[in-house]
Symmetry: C2
């Protein structure tokens, strides 16, 4: 039996489900690219959401990126926290807020930890927008060599 | 069709699979407890393993803890890196080494980032041992108030 959504997560309930769609990426240091994506927000009755996403190259079908983590209510009304692991050799703790189906989350240098071989990501800014069963997002990123710059945009639809 | 294991992951191949079993936990600040656990190491053909685990209270069946992340080869032969998200409001970047089926991974205060509401974990020491289809592990933890102290031990069996 599916657990009941934790009372503290009501304001994040609009994210629940499996989302699929396509996006485009770019950055000053790489060639533009197109991708397919699946993003899942689910819960287990506890006061956090499980978040995972996977993207594939739109042409080759090869895995491009994965993220695994947890979204939690923050310490004030409408605030949220994201704890995320990346396969690129880094973790990200982002904080932000939710308003009218939009979520903004930002992680700076003190919230991003790299492994010895990890990518030199220095800042990540995420903006998610949900209207009914459509989720769009934009992600900006800074590295040690590049200031905060647009990196990803995608549009996903909620699966039944 | 399942992808081929990336050549860089040969030394971690003994972890692959779904592991289930039971464990016990304790800490100076909490009551001892028993748990059931499922741990999964899988791959997508890229040079990292996906790691996830979930534990349930042995008596009530309630979810106790989850971890989601990635295990990667480090910058020297036999070294490994773990990037991990916890639902407790923290991320962990651990580094360590693999030898004869044993993995030791440690994360200190600079590798652990907490959210505003995150648990005050300061250090985590993980030791995994695999013999054939049996995986045992011990986990020690330090918080701001408690020095590095035993927290978890479990024995899991690899599922077919």
């Amino acid at each position: 039996m599916a657990p009941t959504l934790h009372a503290d997560l009501g304001f994040l309930g609009f994210l629940l489900g499996t989302w699929r769609g396509t996006g485009t990426g770019g950055y000053p240091t790489i060639e533009p690219f197109a991708y397919r994506e699946e993003m899942v927000f689910e819960h287990v009755g506890e006061p956090f959401l499980l978040y995972r996403q996977e993207t594939w190259d739109a042409t080759t079908g090869n895995v491009v990126h994965l993220e695994r983590g947890f979204l939690r209510p923050g310490d004030t009304d409408g605030s949220v926290e994201l704890c995320l692991a990346h396969p690129l050799g880094l973790t990200e703790v982002a904080s932000g807020s939710v308003e009218d189906g939009s979520i903004t989350l930002e992680a700076g240098p003190k919230q991003i930890v790299r492994t010895a071989t990890g990518l030199d990501v220095a800042r990540v800014l995420r903006r998610y927008h949900v209207v009914d069963d459509t989720l769009t997002y934009e992600l900006d990123m800074a590295t040690d060599r590049t200031p905060l710059t647009w990196h990803l945009s995608a549009t996903l639809e909620r699966m039944a």
